[in-house]
């Protein structure tokens, strides 16, 4: 249906207001909320994510598209709840202790949400214990760690250790990313997945949650 296409395209251009109007039209026309979500909003966000990964759109474009997605998703939320639609999983995400860089982390959050994953954002400068405690209390299947400094990337290793100590290591997957981090470091500290960008992070998270 072309209205879903219009939603996707306007989302890609960051037109939040238009997206919301179109969602209302789609609902009025009897379209299912989960179809609007997946074939309108998430479809648009997927396309933006892929373009971001290949370097044809940039950070501001992702931000305005994600804003349109979030506003649209908020509008759909009561309908989705009513219809009993659940997210595909839950993640907690944060920038590790000592580190205040958060642009990348925020993009990861948006992209994960764009895959229908629920994300608990713990912010920046987050202590290892907080990740573990949140994962336990909120029943997260994923812990996502961001670090931009060589002096803070070591904290990621501590989170892995703390997850083992808390006995939840086999219940959560740990994903890491940020400028100084790479695949070798991921293996070294025993985390599960590293990706170089937010769109790949979302693909990997979805794969982990639906495996």
């Amino acid at each position: 249906m072309s209205i879903l296409n219009d939603i996707s395209e306007n989302l890609q251009r960051g037109k939040a207001k238009v997206v919301k109007e179109l969602i209302q039209q789609a609902l009025d026309a009897g379209e299912k909320p989960e179809t609007i979500l997946s074939e309108g909003l998430l479809d648009g966000m997927n396309i933006i994510g892929a373009k971001f990964k290949e370097g044809t759109v940039y950070v501001p474009e992702v931000l305005v598209a994600a804003r349109a997605m979030n506003q649209g998703a908020a509008m759909l939320k009561p309908y989705l709840e009513e219809a009993g639609v659940k997210s595909i999983g839950r993640a907690c995400l944060g920038t590790v202790q000592g580190d205040l860089h958060d642009i990348g982390k925020n993009l990861v959050k948006m992209m994960l949400e764009g895959k229908g994953i629920e994300v608990i954002d713990l912010g920046t400068d987050v202590a290892p214990e907080t990740f573990i405690q949140t994962a336990i209390e909120q029943d997260c299947q994923l812990i996502c760690l961001s670090a931009l400094l060589t002096t803070t990337m070591g904290v990621m290793g501590e989170v892995v250790k703390k997850a083992e100590e808390a006995g939840i290591r086999d219940k959560v997957k740990i994903m890491i990313g940020g400028a100084p981090v790479d695949e070798a470091f991921c293996r070294q500290i025993g985390a599960d997945v590293y990706t170089p960008d937010a769109a790949s992070a979302a693909d990997a998270a979805k794969a982990l949650l639906t495996a």
Partner: protein, 334 residues
């Protein structure tokens, strides 16, 4: 050869007689690094400008011109906005673009004139650029939205900025002629530029076109300071007359040798992978070997590709400085 003339030579794509300059361009040291080094024997009473010569580096002076006064409101959280819209911008205007603060700083520059004339040190200055400055006003994230949400405000800020900077430049050139200058921007990251070329052209190009020609007329080399992988941006920068880039961050994927192939006439400062300094002497030597062929081609001052990190022990830093000079000599041998 004097410190100043070595730098001048490289900036003109000539080879110094004895060796390349040995500088840490990020002359505002990472505070944590200095704290660590003090524990390892760096005298605590060294003045800010005395650290480099103490460590065996060539003296140079950087002036980062103040763009706001001391009473300017601070962001409520790290990276947060101090003005989110036009009305709030107008409220803080009295605290922005402080001529008086610049004048006080230029007093210090005046005191350096004799030494500069004698060649004891190069002098350079830094300006907040058209990406960086609005970011400090609008807040890190809002700034990225503002290209879409408030393009008029963005343009207004850059007009005010250019006007302010042109005024200050006139004062600088009445004192002395700095060898080079940088626009602080940080508009790229590990995966390349943060903004598109269209966005660059729409917002930043008009700003640069106002400020850059004036600086170049005076013979100061115009360099952009942007972390991350700048490679894809170099052609955009060249279009506005920018002549070089620092720090060419290795970990972000910058390949300085490949860049040199494509841009034989662009100035480079930095490119030495700071990550090797956390590893070992051998890793640093390997890194210098990687850079040596590019050093030999000229127009390149090798230097750490950002502030030296706190996990580089002082002893290893001494070795680094010795190697920097060793390879700086090798680069000029024919």
């Amino acid at each position: 050869m004097t410190n100043r003339d070595r730098v001048k030579a490289v900036l003109n794509f000539e080879m110094p007689d004895d060796r390349l300059p040995a500088i840490e361009w990020a002359s505002w040291w990472w505070d944590r690094t200095i704290m660590e080094w003090q524990k390892q024997g760096l005298p605590a009473n060294l003045g800010f400008h005395d650290i480099a010569p103490y460590l065996g580096l060539d003296q140079h002076y950087q002036f980062w011109l103040p763009h706001r006064d001391a009473l300017c409101p601070q962001p409520k959280f790290f990276g947060g906005p101090i003005a989110e819209d036009e009305e709030e911008y107008e409220k803080i205007l009295p605290h922005l673009y402080p001529d008086g603060d610049v004048d006080r700083q230029l007093e210090f520059m005046r005191s350096l004139k004799a030494g500069h004339d004698a060649g004891d040190y190069p002098v350079w200055f830094s300006l907040d650029g058209g990406f960086w400055f609005p970011r400090t006003i609008l807040g890190i994230e809002n700034h990225l939205y503002s290209f879409y949400d408030q393009p008029e405000l963005y343009e207004r800020i850059l007009n005010d900025l250019a006007e302010f900077q042109l005024r200050q430049l006139e004062k600088i050139y009445s004192i002395l002629t700095p060898e080079f200058m940088t626009f602080g921007e940080d508009m790229s990251y590990n995966n390349g530029p943060m903004i598109s070329e269209d966005c660059f052209d729409e917002f930043l190009l008009p700003y640069y076109n106002k400020v850059v020609p004036y600086i170049k007329e005076h013979g100061t080399k115009v360099i952009i300071d942007s972390d991350g992988d700048i490679s894809r941006m170099v052609p955009w920068l060249k279009r506005v007359g920018i002549e070089g880039v620092l720090p060419l961050e290795r970990k972000a994927g910058v390949d300085v040798a490949a860049l040199r192939e494509v841009h034989p006439d662009f100035l480079f400062i930095g490119a030495f992978d700071k990550m090797t300094m956390r590893e070992s002497e051998e890793a640093m030597r390997e890194e210098f070997e990687r850079l040596l062929p590019v050093m030999k081609k000229g127009g390149f001052i090798p230097s750490v590709d950002h502030q030296t990190p706190p996990d580089c022990p002082l002893e290893r830093y001494h070795i680094y400085v010795d190697m920097l000079k060793e390879y700086g000599r090798k680069a000029v041998e024919d």
